[in-house]
Amino acid sequence: MADAELKQKVEELIAANPVLLFMKGTPEAPRCGFSMRVVQVLDSIDVEYGAIDVLPALQPLREVTTEISDWQTFPQLYVNGELLGGADIVEEMLDSGELAEALGVEQPEAAPAPAGPPAQSPPLQIE
């Protein structure tokens, strides 16, 4: 049974951020290879996203996402309030063009040229 207060907080964050990534570590310093892969995907697409480091409250957050989305592992990318997927799904959707479509952005060129730091909102914290 997930903590009700934390669950409500997470639901509010998902509702308030059109593109929200729950990850291990931060976009600047990912602490897990799968989280890093999703950060790389998002950075290759010109999209602003919020990021939440799950490590400080891993088990409680796992219980919350299990109840919200029936998904236990991190990273988790939410787009417009819905779980889009973890690293495997997000990479697959980038390659197929479905990710750009879901995010409402242009599909990046096959070999994206690194052009300055990507647009990114500051990391969000769960107190």
């Binding site: 989305s69 029936d70 998904w71 592992t73 819905e82 779980l83 889009l84 997927g85 495997d88 799904i89 697959e92 959707m93």
Partner: protein, 78 residues
């Protein structure tokens, strides 16, 4: 204990009758697996929903600690 790849494959095939399933041991340690699943039951589902079906099929082996990670690749079988 390393996962029995044939058992894992069978669990997915039982949950998704008619599916084509390939399970490989990604790291050689028997607990990080990759499953490639093609099933007609995936039609009309989001990828997350497709993955949920696969993971639900092998949940017992997650719960008993046999598998630590399962990468999933799904395909709609036409």
């Amino acid at each position: 204990m390393a996962a029995d790849l044939t058992e894992i494959k069978g669990m997915i095939e039982t949950a998704l009758p008619g599916s084509t399933v390939e399970v490989i041991d990604e790291t050689g340690t028997g607990d990080h697996l990759r499953a490639t699943v093609a099933a007609s039951q995936f039609e009309g589902l989001t990828r997350v929903a497709q993955h949920r079906l696969v993971k639900a099929a092998v949940k017992a082996r997650f719960d008993d600690g046999t598998i630590h990670a399962l990468s999933v690749k799904t395909e709609v079988l036409g």
